[in-house]
Structures are given as structure tokens and as C-alpha cells.
């Protein structure tokens, strides 16, 4: 069911915010909640909460198992959600794998490659290369570090420039004939930088490598078309996409999923089983052992339907206009330094910053006392914050429900913190 906001032709974040019940909560002694931590997790609209509840209240049964009506309904709900996800990222429905999180999706592809035997195109050994970037979230760095350690493959990376962009000047020496995998983020969860994929994908494919895209910070905020991007694998999480926790998406090209070995094994991912061996069901089943996160998948389906109604391009434009507004306001604050690009080119709705000598934890605590929720720390991208010479930053991240009022509160909060700790 479309929300009131979705029926409006013009984008009005303050109307959209009314779809998210938590945003009308008062916190810290009656303060209005100003939620600027959507990069960590997004809030949920009523349609998502209701879809999950309805599944549990009316349709709950183990999907793809059982010969009864509820099992049929649960299967329809799960597969309906898969179709919604596929349409949302312009994929084929049998290319969409439900996992429990984006972290699991990235581990799935890394571990599955580690399972590939000699002769399989994903087989890695000494002499092969894995390429990442310095701005990866730990979830798209450590699985590859571990895969390199297990297989003897080398790990190399694109560096980050001081203004928070990816340094592609040495692309040919980073992605070489030896490279088998290029795993990178679509948008930095710390800097907000959107990565120019065209050149990287072209070079990766030129040397026969596959491209794994961590789309956790892009799919929730802008239109992502896996075919147009010409990538090979993609991961994103439900909970950052105004959907539930406990559901992640792993997407891969059909022909690649057919060759990729499984990661987790067990029930329902098989074709045939004897006491000593097993063969695999075709994708996506091959990668979905066990009863799936059904209510969560249904909730994610509702979330993506909701976002699509509003329009991903409108959401991205809205977040960019918020970013522009905040960058302008921040430029008037003494001692405030934005960590990341200061222009709007190839950028999303994340603004990390430092504030003189005030430690991010102390700033975050002060903002919290004003009802403002931000993230502080290294944002699970420790190599990046170390490279940029900031042990920690404060991060404001937006979503479709944030308004200029929220940013005015943040700016007032930052000035207040300067007085408090000054």
C-alpha cells in the first residue's frame, strides 16, 4: 500500500518522515529525535513493520517445504520478495540470493572462491592477485585478507587521495594480468565518496578479473542497475535500505553463480545426497541452505517497493541537496574540518568531520544530549581513518526522511559543543 508521501508528486521529507514512527519519538528528556546515523542503520517505515508482522501473523511456515497452504503462502511471499529485489537492481530473479547480512554476502563470495578447485575459474593460488581499496569497510576487507592468506594469493589496493577520492593514476599496476578479483565499495561509508566504476570495471574485465561491489551505501540511496554497471557480484543489506535486520542480498551474474562453489551447506541447497557425497541445486538455492529469513525478506520487499514508489533518483537528489546545505553551513564553523570531498561531484549523503581538539566521542555525547544521533569512531574502516590521519571522526549520514531542520539542529549542536568543551 502506498504511503501518503509516495502519493505526493513532489518530494517532501517532512511528510515522508511521518511514515517512520520512531522519528516522532522524544529522547533525552523530551528532545526531538534528529536521526543522522542512517549510514549505520536506517529507520523503518510502517509498511515494512506491517509487512513483517503480517507474515508472522498470517503466513508463517517454512518456505519451499511442506505441502500445506501456509507453506505455499510463505513460498509465494519469499519468492515475491526476490522478484522485487531483482527488479530494484535490474537483475534476473534467479541471480538474487538471500543471506542474513551484507557481511555474510561478502564472506559468501570470498569463501566460495576459496572452495574452488583447480580448473574452476575462481580457483586462487600463489601468483594470483586480489585487489581492494583503502576505503573499504572491514566487511569488504577482512574476507579478502583471509582469502589471500588461505590461498597464497597477493592482496593489493588502490590508495586514497588526501581529498578522499580513489587514486586511479596507477590503475594498470594495481589491476594486473594476475588479478582475479577486484572487490570495492560503491560509496565510502566514511567519506561519502562515490567510486567511478567504469574505468575500474573495464580494466578488471580486460585482465579477466571479476568485480565484487559492496553496495551497502549506494543501493539504499540511489538507482543501482547491475547490468548498466557491468559488475559481476554485488552485496547490500536490508537494514540500511529501510528494511529489516537479518536479511542481506548477494547478487551475481547467472553464469558466474553457476560456476561459483557453495559456501554454507545444508538443507535445501542440494540436488542429490548420499551418505558420502552431495550435488548442488542451481542458484540461488545453491547459496541458501537452511530455512531463509522469510519475514525479513518480505520486509525488505516492502521496503524496496516503498523506496521505488518515491523514486531513487529523487531520494538521491534530496540527499545531495542536504549534503550541499550542510557543507555550506559547516564551512562557516571555525575549526571544523570535513573529512572527504567538499564538492558534490560523485558524492552521497555522508559527511564526516573533525572539530578542533574535541574528540568525536565527546562531540557525539554532547549531540546526543541535544537529541541528535550521529556516529563516532573509525566507522569499521580503520585503515582509512589511519591513512587520513584521524583516529576517529564524527559522521552525519542522511536518508530520505531527513530535513534541513535536522541539519540546522546539527549545526546548532556543533556550535553548542564548541562552547561546552571550549
Amino acid at each position: 500500500m502506498p504511503s501518503t508521501s509516495a502519493l505526493n508528486m513532489s518530494f517532501d521529507a517532512s511528510v515522508i518522515a511521518q511514515d517512520f514512527p520512531i522519528l516522532s519519538r522524544k529522547i533525552r528528556d523530551g528532545k526531538r529525535l534528529v536521526y543522522l546515523d542512517s549510514g549505520a542503520t536506517s529507520q523503518k517505515p510502517n509498511v515494512v513493520i506491517d509487512a513483517q508482522n503480517d507474515f508472522y501473523r498470517l503466513h508463517n511456515a517454512a518456505a519451499h517445504r511442506g505441502a500445506h497452504q501456509l507453506a505455499e503462502e510463505a513460498t509465494d511471499a519469499l519468492e515475491g520478495a526476490r522478484q522485487i529485489v531483482a527488479s530494484f537492481i535490474s537483475a534476473h530473479v534467479d541471480e538474487v540470493v538471500f543471506t542474513k547480512s551484507a557481511t555474510e554476502s561478502l564472506n559468501l563470495v570470498a569463501y566460495a572462491m576459496g572452495n574452488a578447485q583447480k580448473g574452476n575459474r575462481f580457483h586462487l593460488t600463489k601468483g594470483d592477485g586480489i585487489v581492494v581499496t583503502e576505503m573499504e569497510h572491514h566487511a569488504n576487507l577482512i574476507p579478502w585478507q583471509q582469502l589471500a592468506a588461505r590461498t597464497g594469493a597477493s592482496l593489493s589496493w588502490f590508495e586514497v587521495t588526501p581529498d578522499g577520492r580513489l587514486d586511479l593514476s596507477s590503475i594498470k599496476s594495481v589491476i594486473t594480468e594476475k588479478t582475479k578479483v577486484v572487490a570495492l565499495t560503491h560509496q565510502s561509508n566514511v567519506l561519502g565518496t562515490i567510486i567511478p566504476l567504469d574505468e575500474i570495471v573495464k580494466r578488471a574485465h580486460e585482465v579477466g578479473a571479476v568485480v565484487v561491489l559492496d553496495a551497502c551505501q549506494s543501493v539504499p540511496h540511489m538507482a543501482v542497475d547491475v547490468k548498466a554497471l557491468d559488475i559481476d557480484f554485488l552485496a547490500f543489506s536490508g537494514h540500511k535500505t529501510v528494511g529489516p535486520t537479518g536479511i542481506g542480498i548477494f547478487w551475481g551474474r547467472r553464469e558466474l553463480l553457476a560456476e561459483l562453489p557453495p559456501f554454507l551447506t545444508g538443507g535445501s541447497m542440494i540436488e542429490n545426497v548420499t551418505m558420502t557425497s552431495a550435488t548442488w541445486a542451481p542458484a540461488p538455492k545453491k547459496f541458501e541452505p537452511g530455512v531463509p529469513s522469510m519475514a525479513q525478506a518480505v520486509g525488505l520487499g516492502a521496503a524496496l517497493t516503498y523506496l521505488a514508489h518515491i523514486g531513487m533518483n529523487q531520494i538521491h537528489d534530496h540527499e545531495l541537496s542536504l549534503t550541499e546545505y550542510l557543507l555550506n553551513e559547516f564551512s562557516t564553523i571555525d575549526d571544523l574540518k570535513v573529512i572527504g570531498p567538499r564538492d558534490l561531484h560523485m558524492r552521497g549523503g555522508i559527511v564526516s568531520f573533525s572539530l578542533g581538539d574535541i574528540h568525536p566521542h565527546d562531540l557525539g555525547q554532547f549531540l546526543d544530549s541535544q537529541g541528535i544521533a550521529v556516529r563516532t569512531g573509525h566507522h569499521c574502516a580503520w585503515p582509512l581513518t589511519r591513512k587520513l590521519g584521524v583516529p576517529a571522526t564524527t559522521r552525519a549520514s542522511f536518508h530520505l526522511y531527513n530535513t534541513k531542520d535536522d541539519l540546522d539542529s546539527l549545526v546548532a549542536g556543533v556550535r553548542g559543543a564548541q562552547k561546552y568543551f571550549g
Partner: protein, 147 residues
Amino acid sequence: MQLDNLYQEVILDHYKNPQHKKLNPIFDAQVHHINPSCGDEITLNVTLDAGLVKEVSWDGVGCSISQASTSILTDLLIGKSLDQTQVISEAFMNLMQSKGTEIGDAELLEDAVALAGVSQYPARIKCALLGWMAFKDASVQAIAKNS
């Protein structure tokens, strides 16, 4: 405001003027501790002498709570016997776990009672304990070295 319970004047004073925050190159044990949730880091040196804590010096980066807590620790524990430091450390850890129900024994903990407010902010307890866990680790290593 409630925030003032957390950021007592004593804490901000120690934050702005941290005590013994310069590593002495001579030590019995040196440890490096990290708070992986926020990236705060501390290096702490301990020197013992005949069952007493002769010296504690440190360096590190972190928030006002972690820096002030470590600074307070040095003032409190230098010159004490190892038995006394254990009693004080346990009292401090209990205070941090008290969820705001205790004010702390000012005679025993001195300036450290100013950190009592931290116990109401679960995310900050680790900040307050960073230096204390480092001291515990270093003193155990220093005892092992001297025995």
C-alpha cells in the same frame, strides 16, 4: 543538564592538563591497549620498586573520558603498594559497573569519583577503563619481570 554528571569539572581539567602523559623510556613493562570500538589507543609504562608502584607514564589518543581517567589513575596509583592498587582498581571497576547507583568512596578513589557519571553511559565505560586495563596488564608483566 544531565551531561554535566558525565563531564565534571575535574574530568575536563585532567583532560586539558593530563598528568604523567610523557613516556619515560625506562620501565619494567610497557603495554599498548586499543579500544577497537572507537580507535582510542594508549601506551603505558610501569616501573615497580620493592612492591610499590614507583612510576606510571603514558601516551595516547582518545576522548576526554579515557584521557582524564588515565591521568587520574597515575595521580592515584603512583607511590601505592601493589596490594593497594588492586583494592583501588577493583573499587573503580565496581563503580563503573554501578549504572549510576553509586557515588564511589572519595577517600579511596579521590578524583576518580568524578567519573561515577560514566556508569550511566554504557558506551563510555570502556573509555574510562582503557587506562585501568592497561595498568592491570602492565603491572602483571612488571611483577613477572621482577620476580
